[in-house]
Subunit: 151 residues, 2 copies
């Protein structure tokens, strides 16, 4: 079967997000998504920014991403450094719904030390299945990359 990039989900975490990343990889594969695992690959202490470029590369090519650290805050800061990336840290379903409808989020950021697997799966479902509303929200997204550079 041909796999379009829209079916590809890159996942990355640090040690604090490793267990949730593994659970999410299984969940996504069972749902028929193609998963690219960007690491980390065990629970040894690592630096969260190291796992961001691999996920960003997939997003820049049209896929989507999931990043996980302890709270999600470090991953959110790191990922949003990249032009064209819209990483949304969502610990609840409503935030994730808005992150898709209004912000066209292309990376979902989760907190491995803050969320149980079942909640993470519900948030992930919303991330994968909610459409961007466009319109005035698109104008605002364009401004993010116009304004956010070089100072």
């Amino acid at each position: 079967m041909m796999v379009s990039s829209g079916n590809l989900i890159a996942i990355g975490s640090d040690h604090a997000g490793f267990n949730l990343k593994e659970a999410i990889a299984d969940y996504l594969e069972k749902k028929g998504y193609e998963v690219k695992d960007c690491g980390t690959f065990d629970t040894a202490s690592v630096d969260y920014p190291d796992f961001v470029p691999c996920v960003v590369k997939v997003v820049k090519e049209g896929g989507r991403g999931v990043l996980i650290c302890g709270t999600g805050i470090g991953m959110s800061i790191s990922a949003n450094r990249y032009r064209g990336v819209r990483a949304a840290r969502c610990l609840d379903v409503f935030s994730c719904e808005m992150a898709r409808k209004h912000n066209d989020a292309n990376i979902l950021v989760l907190g491995g030390r803050l969320m149980g697997e079942e909640l993470a799966f519900r948030v992930l479902d919303v991330f994968l299945n909610t459409e961007f509303e466009g319109g005035r929200h698109k104008r605002r997204l364009d401004k993010i990359d116009e304004l956010g550079s070089g100072f």
Copy 2:
């Protein structure tokens, strides 16, 4: 009295964050902080990225910032585009504690449509009064700006 930049807090919001921004400005002034209000100045519909550069400028000069939109997600994406900015969207006290201790967050991002004033004040108190732990966390912050550029 001499005011050091550490006492200066820049605040900015879109229309959805306007009411909470006004409440936070009052709260900060009563506590003796110097507040720079970067707008918006009423509830007319505006684009959240337009209010970010003014807050970022203060942060780059050693102050701190607070940004507010409906969910905080748009502001978080926008602000983290800037090198040296570490904007943390915190809807709860624990996330904010970690955002300071581990991520040395210099901008607190709040969701005007998600949080009541009293909760926002508690989170803000944690943001203002929690020290960064440094150490291995400093190495990770350095990597954010080393890795997050140009692709």
